[in-house]
Symmetry: C2
Subunit: 248 residues, 2 copies
């Protein structure tokens, strides 16, 4: 079975969607058959790739998963689009009772033919994120080098440990990604220092710099790797992708 990554952090706006899109794109470009699953009712991963959210989420319909998959502009990258209808997403969440029953079943049936799966989670520790974690082999946590981000880390780590201990899944800690790093700011350097001291090896070497081209790419429905291939943001995501692929 291929690697299934959840990109998760209850803190808002730390770059979960940006990281999910750009790592999925990087892996597709590296020759992996890649599936990106949009699990967030905001549907940012979907629109950020120039695709349309659906009325009913592929994970709650009765149809086999592959009927809900769509091609993206990038060959090798397939998308399970998000759905804005909250109650759909609540069905998925309730049906799971915090275990990933629905998600894990659907996933295992639907993902033959994919080498790697990326799941973009909403900013919450609720049932959706828990289902994603329980269905995953690894969790990636993007964090910003700011005070509130540090606070939330401990809580997220607690949740991940709970899911691991509940068992039934094969979740391992994938790693912490420092995002939107403005190395000119003392605050950012201090927080990065603290995170590395505290978490050691699970923090990736590659950090994603603050780069307006990364921020502009979704309005063009493209990964930054295609929108601005020579940008610092694009290079950083490629570097991070390689660090992850070498981890196997």
């Amino acid at each position: 079975m291929g690697r299934i990554f959840s990109v998760a952090n209850q803190k808002g706006g730390v770059g979960k969607t940006t990281t999910a899109i750009n790592l999925a794109a990087a892996m597709a470009k590296a020759g992996k058959r890649t599936l990106l699953i949009d699990l967030d009712p905001q549907c940012n991963a979907t629109t950020g790739l120039g695709c349309e959210p659906t009325n009913s989420h592929g994970l709650v319909t009765r149809r086999p998963l592959r009927e809900s998959l769509v091609a993206t502009y990038l060959s090798g990258l397939t998308l399970l689009p998000g759905s804005r209808t909250f109650h759909d997403v609540e069905i998925l969440a309730k049906g799971d009772q915090g275990e990933s029953g629905v998600l894990r079943e659907h996933l295992s049936d639907g993902i033959d033919g994919f080498d790697v799966v990326w799941i973009d989670c909403p900013p919450s520790t609720g049932p959706l994120t828990q289902s994603a974690l329980a269905a995953s082999s690894e969790v990636l946590m993007p964090i910003q080098c700011e005070y509130f981000a540090m606070e939330g880390l401990t809580q997220m780590i607690g949740l991940i440990r709970d899911v691991m201990q509940r068992g039934g899944g094969r979740l391992e800690f994938g790693g912490i990604v420092l995002t939107m790093v403005d190395a000119s700011l003392e605050l950012a350097r201090e927080v990065e220092g603290e995170v590395r001291d505290f978490f050691g090896e699970i923090v990736f070497e590659a950090v994603i710099p603050r780069d307006v081209l990364v921020c502009e790419a979704p309005s063009h429905g493209r990964s930054v790797l295609d929108y601005a291939p020579q940008s610092r943001g694009a290079w950083a995501y490629i570097e991070l992708c390689q660090e992850i692929l070498e981890m196997t």
Copy 2:
């Protein structure tokens, strides 16, 4: 009855908590007896003012609300702390069935003696945010001048309209606040232009600039108005506060 503001936006990291803390502080300094309610299980508004989250949220305990209120470092600013225990917060949300029963009752009993109440909401359109909206007289929506923020705006406006039409409350649209604006970026100027064209008068004149001092303040448990009173961020929040007070 005093004004009750919800600070809401399902998009993460757009400055809801920063705005709730700094406008509540500005109003307390302007002589208003101010209550800030932390409705987010992340408890950022609580820790950002140097206070402790509670085990059980004041809005779900049987005790009268005022027994759960705590003083902050700032005279005139009182806090109803947040609670990290998700099921507590879920009780509040479920008890409401999407209507603000519990929150609105508790609020109307508990808020005599306050001129203004600020409610910090989590990044979601779920039951917590809906309860807050139904209990409020006005909603303030902070938004960042970036693509995903624009997308989420339409959905939030839809939710606010639903709450208004369900009736029973006295919710009006308070306004849109542009946050973390980096005026040197063309993207920011474009998005600001679009937001003002589209939404007109409901967009506040005052915008909050990107300012690292605003970002550092919570790690000192202070509003930026006390941490860095001469900063551009502090001045902007004071200007916004006055614009809001003149709205009555």
